[in-house]
C-alpha cells in the first residue's frame, strides 16, 4: 500500500467526520466536493504512479479506483442541487463520503480480509442511501439490501475461512489453484463467486437490486448502479484470478467458466425482459443494470472458460464495467433531473420533455447510444469485445455456446427496444397536459452529465486509447497473458458495425411494434394477464410469507424464553459454585486462604502423579 492509496481510503472518512461539524448547507456541499476532488486527484496520481511502475504494481486496482473516484467526483457536483429537495441531506452527504472511502478500500485492498472488512462497511453505509426516504417502500427495500449484503459478506467470509484453513495465503492476486487441488478450494471459490455475485446482482440473487435502486435518491441510484455493484464485479474478477487463468480447462473444475457464462446470459435475459415491462423510469434503468452486469459476468465467464486465451472476454468485462459506470450514471442523473423538476417517474405520464430540457435530452440521447451499443459510442466498444469473446468461446467449446451467442444478440435487441421506448415516451412524444414542470435545467445538474457524455463519445471514437494504455496492462497480472490479438483489435470492422446496426434497427422496430400492439402494457382478459397471475401469485406468496413470519416470531419468542431460562440457570449454577468454597461472589474470601493453599497443593500433587499414569 502506498501513501496515496491509504489517503484515498482515509480522506473520505475524515471528510465524513468533518461533515458533522459544518454549519450551513453550502459548507456541507463544499466540503463534500472538496473531499471527492482530493480523492479523485489522489487516485489519478495513484493511477499515474501505478502506470509508471507498471509490471510491479496492481493495474486493476488502479483502474477501478480511478473510475469510482471519477464518478463520485462528478456526482458530487450534482448532489447539492438535487439534495435541496430532500430532507436529512447532511446524513446523506456523510454516508456518501463514507461509502466512497469503503469503495476505495475495496478496490485498493491487497488482502481478502481487508477487502471483506471494507465490503461490509460499504454495505452498511450504502444501506443508509437506500433507506434515505424512510417510507415503507424504502425501508423494505433497504432491509432486502442489507440482508442480502450481509449474506454476501457471510458467503465471502466462509470462502475465506476455507481458503485460510487450507493454509493458503489470503493475499489478493495469488493463484490459489496452483497451490492446492483440494475440493474445499472449489467450495471456497464457489462461495466467493456467490458472495460477490449477490452484490453484483447475478441471477437468481438479483432481487434486491431493482428495489434498492428505485427507492434511493437519484445520485445514490446512479452510484449504486454505476459503482457499488461493480464491487461485486471486481470481487468476481479477483476470484477468477485465484483460479488458474493461464492454464484453464486442465486444472480447476472445468465447467466453472461455463456455469458463470450461463448465469451471465440468464442475468442478461431476465434483466432485459423485465426492463421491457417497466413503466417507472428508474426501475427500468435498474433492471438494465441487472442485464448489463450479465454482460460483464459473461465476459468473466469466457475468461475463466478460455483461460489464457480469454483476453477478449476479460478486457471486455473490465471495459464494460467502466462504460456501464459512465452511461448508467448519466442515465440515472438525467432521470433525476426530470424527477426533480416534474416529480414524475412514470414514463407514461411524461412526454415532450425535449422542449423544456433540450440539453438533458441531448446528453441522455448520447448515454442511450452508449448503452445500446451504437457504433461511435462507448458501449459499442466493450460489447464488441465481449461479442468477440463469446464467439471465441463458442469456437472452442461448441455445444451450448453458439446459442448463447445468439441470445447475446437478442439481448442487444431488447436493450435497444426498451431504451427506444424510454426515450420516445419521455422526450419525443406529445406532452401530457397534466405534467407540471417547475424549474429548468441547471448548470450544476448538467455539468456531470456533460462530462459523462463527452467521455462516452470520446471512448467511442478512440477506443484503443484506454484499452491499450490501461486495460491491457491489467490483463497479465490477472493471469491472461496472450494479449497480442487484443492489441491489434480493429473496432471498425464492417461486419461488426453492420451487426450492431441490424441489432439497433431490430430493436427500434420491435419497439414500434410494441407500441402499435400495446405489448408493453398489454391488457388481456384479467385471468390471462401476467399481472393477474402475478397478483394472485404474490397474494399466495404474501400469505405464505405472513404464515412463515408468524411461525418465525413464535419460534423466536420461544427461543428467547428458553435463552432467558438458560441464562438464569447458568447464573444460579455459577453463583452456587462460586459461594460454596471457590470464593465468595462480591466479597473477599479471606478466610479461604487455607482452602486456597490446599487447592494449590492438591493441584501440585495431581500434577506429580500424572507421570505415573
Amino acid at each position: 500500500m502506498t501513501f496515496s492509496s491509504i489517503a484515498c481510503v482515509g480522506i473520505p472518512f475524515i471528510g465524513a467526520g468533518l461533515l458533522r461539524r459544518t454549519k450551513s448547507r453550502n459548507a456541507t456541499a463544499l466540503l463534500t466536493w472538496l473531499t471527492t476532488t482530493i480523492v479523485f486527484g489522489l487516485s489519478v496520481y495513484f493511477f499515474v504512479q501505478t502506470r509508471a511502475s507498471y509490471p510491479l504494481s496492481d493495474m486493476t486496482a488502479a483502474i477501478f479506483s480511478l473510475i469510482s473516484a471519477f464518478t463520485w467526483w462528478l456526482v458530487s457536483f450534482y448532489l447539492p442541487e438535487y439534495m435541496k429537495a430532500e430532507e436529512r441531506s447532511r446524513s446523506f452527504f456523510i454516508f456518501f463520503l463514507l461509502t466512497l472511502g469503503a469503495v476505495q478500500g475495496i478496490f485498493l485492498a491487497n488482502n481478502w480480509i481487508v477487502l471483506l472488512a471494507f465490503f461490509e462497511i460499504m454495505t452498511v453505509t450504502s444501506f443508509f442511501w437506500v433507506i434515505h426516504n424512510q417510507n415503507q417502500e424504502a425501508i423494505t427495500a433497504g432491509y432486502f439490501y442489507l440482508f442480502l449484503g450481509i449474506a454476501a459478506g457471510l458467503f465471502i467470509a466462509i470462502g475465506l475461512v476455507f481458503i485460510n484453513s487450507l493454509g493458503l495465503p489470503l493475499e489478493i492476486g495469488v493463484n490459489l489453484v496452483s497451490l492446492s487441488n483440494s475440493t474445499l478450494l472449489s467450495w471456497a471459490i464457489a462461495c466467493l463467486l456467490i458472495g460477490f455475485g449477490i452484490k453484483a446482482g447475478m441471477v437468481p440473487l438479483h432481487i434486491w437490486l431493482p428495489k434498492a435502486h428505485t427507492v434511493a435518491p437519484t445520485p445514490g441510484s446512479a452510484l449504486l448502479s454505476g459503482i457499488i455493484i461493480k464491487c461485486g464485479v471486481y470481487g468476481m474478477i479477483r476470484t477468477a484470478q485465484t483460479i488458474n487463468l493461464t492454464n484453464p480447462m486442465a486444472s480447476f473444475p472445468t465447467n466453472t467458466g461455463l456455469i458463470v457464462i450461463i448465469l451471465g446470459i440468464l442475468t442478461m435475459l431476465l434483466g432485459v425482459s423485465l426492463a421491457l415491462l417497466q413503466s417507472n423510469a428508474k426501475r427500468l434503468l435498474a433492471y438494465h443494470s441487472v442485464s448489463q452486469v450479465g454482460y460483464i459476468i459473461i465476459g468473466i465467464g469466457t475468461a475463466i472458460y478460455l483461460g489464457n486465451e480469454g483476453s477478449y472476454g476479460l478486457a471486455g468485462a473490465i471495459y464494460h464495467t467502466i462504460n456501464h459506470a459512465f452511461f448508467k450514471a448519466a442515465l440515472f442523473l438525467g432521470t433525476g433531473i426530470i424527477y426533480l423538476r416534474t416529480g414524475q417517474q412514470n414514463l407514461y405520464k411524461m412526454g415532450g420533455l425535449w422542449r423544456k430540457f433540450p440539453i438533458t435530452a441531448l446528453l441522455m440521447l448520447i448515454a442511450v447510444f452508449g448503452i445500446t451499443g451504437t457504433p461511435g459510442f462507448n458501449g459499442y466498444v466493450s460489447k464488441s469485445l465481449l461479442h468477440h469473446g463469446i464467439i471465441e468461446a463458442a469456437a472452442v467449446g461448441g455445444g451450448l455456446l453458439p446459442w448463447i451467442e445468439r441470445l447475446f444478440n437478442l439481448v442487444g435487441v431488447g436493450t435497444t427496444a426498451s431504451f427506444a421506448k424510454l426515450y420516445y415516451l419521455a422526450f419525443l412524444r406529445k406532452a401530457d397536459p397534466e405534467l407540471e414542470i417547475n424549474g429548468k435545467e441547471n448548470g450544476l445538474l448538467i455539468f456531470p452529465l456533460l462530462i459523462f457524455a463527452l467521455v462516452i463519445t470520446f471512448i467511442g471514437i478512440k477506443p484503443e486509447l484506454f484499452l491499450n494504455k490501461a486495460i491491457i496492462l491489467a490483463l497479465p497480472e490477472l493471469g491472461v497473458s496472450s494479449i497480442n490479438n487484443l492489441l491489434a483489435t480493429n473496432f471498425w470492422v464492417g461486419r461488426e458495425i453492420f451487426n450492431m446496426i441490424i441489432t439497433l434497427l431490430a430493436g427500434i422496430s420491435f419497439c414500434a411494434i410494441g407500441f402499435r400492439f400495446h405489448l408493453f402494457h398489454y391488457q388481456s382478459p384479467a385471468w390471462l394477464s401476467i399481472e393477474y397471475l402475478g397478483r394472485n401469485f404474490i397474494k399466495g406468496l404474501s400469505y405464505l410469507g405472513s404464515l412463515i413470519e408468524r411461525k418465525y416470531e413464535q419460534a423466536m419468542a420461544n427461543l428467547s424464553a428458553q435463552a432467558k431460562t438458560c441464562y438464569t440457570w447458568i447464573l444460579n449454577f455459577s453463583s452456587r459454585l462460586d459461594t460454596s468454597g471457590w470464593g465468595a461472589s462480591g466479597q473477599i474470601s479471606f478466610s479461604n486462604i487455607n482452602f486456597d493453599v490446599y487447592l494449590i497443593l492438591i493441584a501440585f500433587a495431581i500434577l506429580l502423579i500424572y507421570i505415573l499414569l
Binding site: Y598, A605, I609, L612
Partner: protein, 96 residues
Amino acid sequence: MAKRLVPILAMILVIMALYVFMLAVAELPPYGNVDNPAHNYVYEHYVNNALEETGVLNIVTAIILDYRSYDTLIEATVLFTSIMAVLITLKKGEQH
C-alpha cells in the same frame, strides 16, 4: 460423607506425590560427587579464573559482585521495593 472423604483423598494424593518425589530424588546426581553435572565447566571457570579475572579471593564475592552483578542490582531493588511496600502499607504519607 463427602466431607470425611476429602481428607482421605488428599492424604492418598500426598502419599503418591511423595512417592514421585522420592523417585525424582533417587534420580538426582549423587550428593557431593565431584562429577555431578552441577560441577561442570562453569564451576571450573569460576574456581580457576576468578582470581585472575576479578582479583578477589572470595569466589562467592566475585560471582555476586562481578560475574552476576546485574542480579545483585536487582536484589538491591527487591529490598528497595519492599521498603516502598512497607511505607505505602503503614505510613499515611503526611509530611507535617
